[in-house]
């Protein structure tokens, strides 16, 4: 998972980002002899009973709200978990609460890697190093599960590297193309 396990009873502060909003969350086991913990953020505080089960948790809330849920949970990338709840799927980012790390706001400057979103076969490469590309322009396509998936440039810029050829097999996350962004008038500072 995303952080080092913590000694029983020790309080952990995390930031959790769901649907674009970040919460500073505190997790505090009630005692090591129970399966209950206090989870709090902002004005919100719950005592939850959390029992690990196949691929996730069973959560009940003995502290008043009584809601009960099965939540599935798997790590899709470091600091990123996919939660399953009531037939819905929720991507959450979780990080150490002491290091601020707002997600989403990747800078528009510098090198941008375009990676395979899933394992598959490269069926098209539309650019060469040195090509000028605009944001949204198709760079290459990967086929998986009989579907072609076009990969678009995330920025206006110049192709600096093309690392794949047609018919190559790629793993999820494999870098396919690198685009150097054109200098942008707006820069987000972290």
């Amino acid at each position: 998972m995303t952080s080092t396990p913590t000694p029983p009873g020790r309080t952990l502060r995390l930031h959790v980002e769901i649907a674009g909003s970040v919460r500073q969350v505190t997790v505090e086991p009630v005692s090591v002899d129970s399966s209950q913990a206090r989870v709090s953020w902002d004005e919100t505080s719950y005592v939850v009973d959390a029992v690990p089960r196949a691929g996730g948790f069973s959560l009940t809330m003995p502290g008043g709200s009584w809601a009960s849920r099965e939540v599935t949970c798997h790590t899709v990338a470091p600091g990123e978990v996919m939660l399953g709840l009531d037939g819905l799927q929720i991507r959450a980012r979780v990080g150490d609460g002491r290091r601020a790390q707002p997600a989403g706001a990747a800078g528009a400057e510098g090198d941008h890697v375009v990676a395979a979103p899933m394992p598959g076969r490269v069926v098209r490469v539309s650019v060469e190093p040195g090509d000028v590309v605009t944001r949204g322009q198709g760079l290459a396509a990967v086929e998986a599960m009989k579907m072609e998936n076009e990969l678009a440039s995330p920025v206006d810029g110049v192709v600096s590297e093309v690392r794949v050829s047609v018919d190559d097999t790629v793993e999820a996350g494999a870098v396919m193309v690198v685009v150097s962004a054109a200098v942008s008038p707006q820069v987000d500072h972290d």
């Binding site: 396990p5 029983p8 086991p29 029992v51 929720i90 959450a92 599960m145 579907m147």
Partner: protein
């Protein structure tokens, strides 16, 4: 009879179950990545037929035939997709003395090509969408535009060999004809090795309805109550149901008559499906025939109680077709099917292969789960992304929809993403619930909400998600059921830490 199932996934599972119920020995075939797939374990015997890419296994006629020979199979059921509509495969089976469970290769050729099937329909007096024959590549641009003008706009450019929306282009006016034909030909050539296209009028506001038939190959054809398949994303069916809210008893009778006329004309054997467009005035037009079992056959089974796969096997054995025509044409209650694709609906329906860490399919009254996967399986990147089909039955449509929402709500799958949140979203739309949709409905509403997550959370669900995300970081969530008896998660976290030190 001993049946080799030349397919994988849920449809192989479906056919293998029918074999076992009928006491017919069965053989599964599998590619390298399917070694531990569900269908392998449900067969009596299983044969490895090659590497993971379909061309080297499920599409390889020689290897499938060799597997049949090696196991002494006497018949082959092709399922759908792969070799199901490949006349060359059917002939190869015949040469080997294997019974092909499906129609003859001649019928597959007659009805399989879209323009050939249109011709057969016109001859049988079945209405077709106004359109052209196959357009020779030698036509000039002017001639192309002239033919398009005759059909009228908007129109579809369609590939003769097409399927799944490939080689298909919508053209709004004369200006789009030439560039559209070029694009469609190129796409079709790449996808099917055959670039020929034709024009077909775009019927505005049309629904996709289809008629299942069973034929005995000697002129007896039984038509079934229609299926409604208008809920499509990019020409791929997503939700199907039976009956259709748009089909009156008079339309049903006329559809059945048309289906029988066309199927009888070719002495159709086995199960097949005739696809029609139904316009808002209740006029219908034949589109094409699928000369095989259809993905959405369960909704027909649920409203008629007739087992289509068992009938395919009986017909192939030469048994008389004794299905009660009245029962076949009468829907008892209402059934609906949702296709569960391994996709990420929040990432533009990107395919989502990967290892399934936990899986609990829906169950209970009126719920049928045709799944091709199980926990621990790696959903491969090589094949179609449909991992299961959930079907529900209830006395009425509202009840079937309510049951489907409940079933999808309890469908628990971890490790990969699926289109379930998008399915739940569609089921909740007023236009869907009112039955007020056509084939353009889903693409339209999807475009209108582009970028929004389908997993729209209530305040309570958001809180639960925050809690679960935080706990997942605090505790090591085991990928599978393995919580030690009596251990609290906090103790487990402590133990894991000990291991790490």
């Amino acid at each position: 009879m001993k049946i080799l199932v030349a397919n994988r996934g849920e449809i192989a599972v479906r056919i293998l179950r029918a074999c076992r119920e009928m006491g017919v020995p069965s053989v599964a075939v599998f590619s390298a990545c399917d070694r531990t797939a569900l269908h392998v374990g449900l067969a009596d015997e299983a044969v490895s037929i090659g590497a993971s890419p379909a061309a080297e296994s499920y599409l390889n006629i020689e290897r499938v035939i060799a597997a049949a020979r090696a196991t002494g199979a006497t018949a082959v059921h092709p399922g759908y997709g792969f070799l199901a509509e490949n006349a060359g495969f059917v002939r190869a089976c015949g040469d080997e003395g294997l019974t092909f469970i499906g129609p003859s290769p001649d019928v597959i050729e007659t009805m399989g090509g879209k323009t050939a099937a249109r011709r057969a329909a016109i001859e049988a007096g079945v209405p077709v969408v106004p359109g052209t024959e196959a357009l020779p590549d030698t036509l000039t641009d002017d001639a192309l535009c002239g033919r398009a003008d005759e059909i009228g706009y908007p129109l579809f450019i369609k590939a003769v060999a097409g399927g799944g929306g490939r080689g298909m282009r919508r053209v709004a006016d004369r200006a789009g004809v030439v560039v559209g034909v070029a694009a469609a030909r190129s796409e079709a050539g790449a996808a099917f090795g055959e670039s020929t296209v034709y024009f077909e009028r775009l019927v505005e506001g049309a629904r996709h309805v289809e008629v299942q038939v069973l034929g005995d190959g000697h002129g007896v054809v039984v038509p079934f109550v229609e299926r409604e398949c208008s809920i499509q994303r990019r020409h791929q069916k997503v939700i199907e149901e039976s009956p259709s809210v748009a089909v009156t008893p008079a339309i049903r009778a006329a559809l059945a008559e048309a289906a029988v006329a066309l199927s009888t004309a070719v002495s159709y054997a086995s199960a097949g499906t005739l696809e029609f467009l139904l316009d808002p005035e209740g006029r219908f037009y034949f589109l094409e025939m699928n000369t095989r079992l259809q993905v959405e056959h369960p909704v027909t089974e649920l409203v008629t109680g007739i087992d289509l796969v068992q009938w395919q096997i009986r017909i192939a054995r030469g048994e008389p077709l004794t299905v009660d025509p009245a029962r076949a044409l009468t829907a008892v209650g209402h059934a609906i099917e949702c296709r569960v694709y391994a996709e990420d609906p929040d990432a533009g329906f990107l395919p989502a292969p990967g290892r399934i860490t936990v899986l609990r399919g829906p169950s209970g009254p009126g719920v049928r789960d045709d799944s091709g996967v199980e926990a621990g399986f790696d959903v491969p990147v090589f094949y179609d992304s449909m991992i299961s089909k959930v079907s529900t039955w209830a006395p009425d449509r509202a009840g079937a929809i309510a049951r489907m929402r409940s079933a999808l709500h309890e469908y628990q799958i971890g490790g990969i993403t699926t289109a379930i949140p998008a399915l739940l979203w569609v089921l909740a739309q007023d236009r869907f619930r009112d039955g007020a949709f056509d084939t353009s409905f889903l693409d339209g509403v999807l475009a209108a909400r582009a970028g929004e997550s389908f997993s729209d959370l209530t305040a309570e669900q958001t809180d639960l998600a925050v809690i679960a995300a935080a706990l997942s970081a605090y505790l090591s969530v085991p990928p599978t059921a393995a919580a030690a008896v009596g251990a609290t998660p906090w103790r487990q976290a402590a133990r894991l830490e000990g291991v790490g030190q």
